[in-house]
Amino acid sequence: MKLSKEIHKELYLKMVQTREFEETAARLFVEGKVHGTAHFCTGEEATGVGVCSALEVKDYILQTHRGHNQGIGKNMDINKMMAELLGKATGYCKGKGGCMHIADFSVGSLGANGIVGGGMPIATGAALKQQYNNEKNVTVCFFGDGATNGGAFHESLNLASVWDLPLIFVCTNNLYGMSTHINRSMNIEDISIRASGYGIKSISLDGNDVVKIYEETIKAKEYVLKNGPMLIVLNTYRWMGHSKSDPQIYRTKDEVKEWKEKCPVKRHKKYMLKNKIMSAVEIETLEKHAVRDIKAAVEFAENSPEPQIENIFDDVYAD
């Protein structure tokens, strides 16, 4: 598979946008402009961006609490994402959900989830609907390493397998569930092993290799449409704390440093330069674009109105 320059451009731009989004959002927290909590995916950009860029609008995704890369990958509107983070009326959830609940049904995102593993059962339903209607589209469900220890994981993979659903389960393994290293939460060499309990295929990939992730997603989509679900494990690392208040005493600075050297953004840049896909100038232009986009998003968000108290009862029930 040889990716076009356009694709590389898209992947790189989205990764840099994600990086910039997270760093900016973190700053907004420190400045006290955001209340509540948020979970940043810095260091994991390649996962959501690589997977989602390989999808079509009609492919669904279920996002996680750490899913800005997934949203940006699926072409969500960055302005509305940022506005939601700031709790504004123009945000994806009209300020009611915050970044743990961003969703954009118009681009195929069925929502992030505050419950670890909460999206997995829902993904089986979305994929069932696709199968029921003979659609040629698939559902992709994101979740973390920690989520694979919960009952929802088991029940969902099993049901998807029994029903041959067109569903790609994507595990972002960043080695930790909060402070708990996978060595203390499971007893297996590689998370992909878990697929065997359901008789489904799985692969385990370098989660910082956006190109490979993109390629494998394309293949996986074809595969699951024919054969039913599969599991993709993307091995990566979270650079920042679990959430804004994490003192990170459960891991060493060296470990973090080591992983920062494997930066997925830099890696893709190097790859493109080496393979002469884009020039340094072109890349720099993209980076500037990204910075500009995020700046614009913050402006949009900051200038947006707060939700009105009169609307507080909206959307509790559908008509």
Binding site: C93, L110, G111, I115, L128, K129, Y317
Partner: protein
């Protein structure tokens, strides 16, 4: 009118809606060839096939979540949870996902699903298969909650629930499945709106507000009391959410004496809500006596039939409590 059972009424409601809406599917444990643990779905697998009547593994969490996902993306779903006691395993998808999605996604993603589950004691199924857990779901904004007491209501309410664009928890009553009642012919499509209580018996001396199986028991008590020329009104609220407050309040004003009856254990039961709705309205000033509440005993449901029968409000206890009121 013809008479059919409560179970048949539910079967008809589902079948008719499935005939009319190709986007409606039905999932649950052993609902297919087995016809459901209580035989409610008999014949549906044969009529609609395995694509639309879907047996599942024993995994209530994903069954419920699967319905959420399918319903959010364009299908309508009916989920059967074999006993409502197993809601304990489905609560996350029901309360944290189905109920909240539309709100937390800023209006995106309605969840038109019906979760059916039988509740109640009386079959010797003991502690983990006999509970009445409607109070849990009635406390979750975003859910609607229905409990029919007759075949007529069961059919009409279920059809409405299926057409509703919200997640509806439809709690059936195990002991009512085989009871019969009048239901219009199949051709006569009728629905009953959610949120309309039904005055099952008019009266002027006191009001019983109740739902589910306790409606039948209350009606028996009322008939007995009529012999002593005491005229009891019996209101079946039919849906807990939305609740027809007006109906309760008006009746309370009329009779001035209200008894709330439900099978669920009394402490923390939905009866408290009903009492409060009445007491915190202008009906308060018409009350001649405290609003009384009679729920099940605050214990798990025991196996022994003699004990089991004493846990829920009995005719004797309802009568005695009414007499205290009068």
């Amino acid at each position: 009118m013809r008479e059919i059972t409560y179970a048949q009424a539910i079967n008809e409601a589902m079948s008719e809606e499935m005939r009319n809406d190709k986007n409606l599917i039905f999932i649950g444990e052993d609902i297919g060839i087995y016809g459901g643990a209580f035989g409610v779905s008999k014949g549906m697998f044969e009529e609609f096939g395995e694509k639309r009547v879907r047996d599942t593994p024993i995994s209530e969490l994903v069954i419920t979540g699967c319905a959420v996902g399918a319903s959010m993306t364009g299908l309508r779903t009916i989920v059967e949870i074999m006993f409502s006691d197993f809601l304990t395993l489905a609560m996350d998808q029901l309360a944290n996902q189905a109920a909240k999605n539309k709100f937390q996604f800023g209006g995106q993603g309605s969840v038109p699903m019906v979760l059916r589950a039988p509740g109640g004691s009386g079959t010797g199924a003991a502690e983990q298969h006999s509970q009445s857990l409607e109070a849990w779901v009635a406390h979750v904004p975003g859910l609607k909650v229905v409990i029919p007491s007759t075949p007529y209501d069961a059919k009409g309410l279920l059809k409405t629930a299926i057409r509703d664009n919200n997640p509806v928890v439809f709690l059936e009553q195990k002991l009512l499945y085989r009871t019969k009642g009048e239901v219009p012919e199949r051709e006569d499509d009728y629905i009953i709106p959610l949120g309309k209580a039904d005055v099952k018996r008019k009266g002027k001396d006191a009001t019983i507000v109740t739902y589910g199986r306790m409606v039948q028991i209350s009606l028996k008590v009322a008939d007995e009391m009529a012999k002593e020329v005491i005229d009891i009104e019996v209101i079946d609220i039919r849906s807990l959410v939305p609740l027809d407050k007006e109906c309760l309040i008006n009746s309370a004003k009329k009779t001035g004496k209200v008894l709330i009856v439900h099978e669920a254990c009394q402490t923390g039961g939905f009866g408290g809500e009903l009492v409060s709705v009445i007491v915190d309205s202008d009906a308060f000033f018409y009350l001649d006596a405290p609003v009384k509440r009679l729920g099940g005993l605050d214990i798990p449901i025991p196996y022994n039939p003699g004990l089991e029968a004493q846990v829920v409000p009995t005719e004797a206890r309802i009568t005695a409590t009414l007499k205290e009121l009068l």
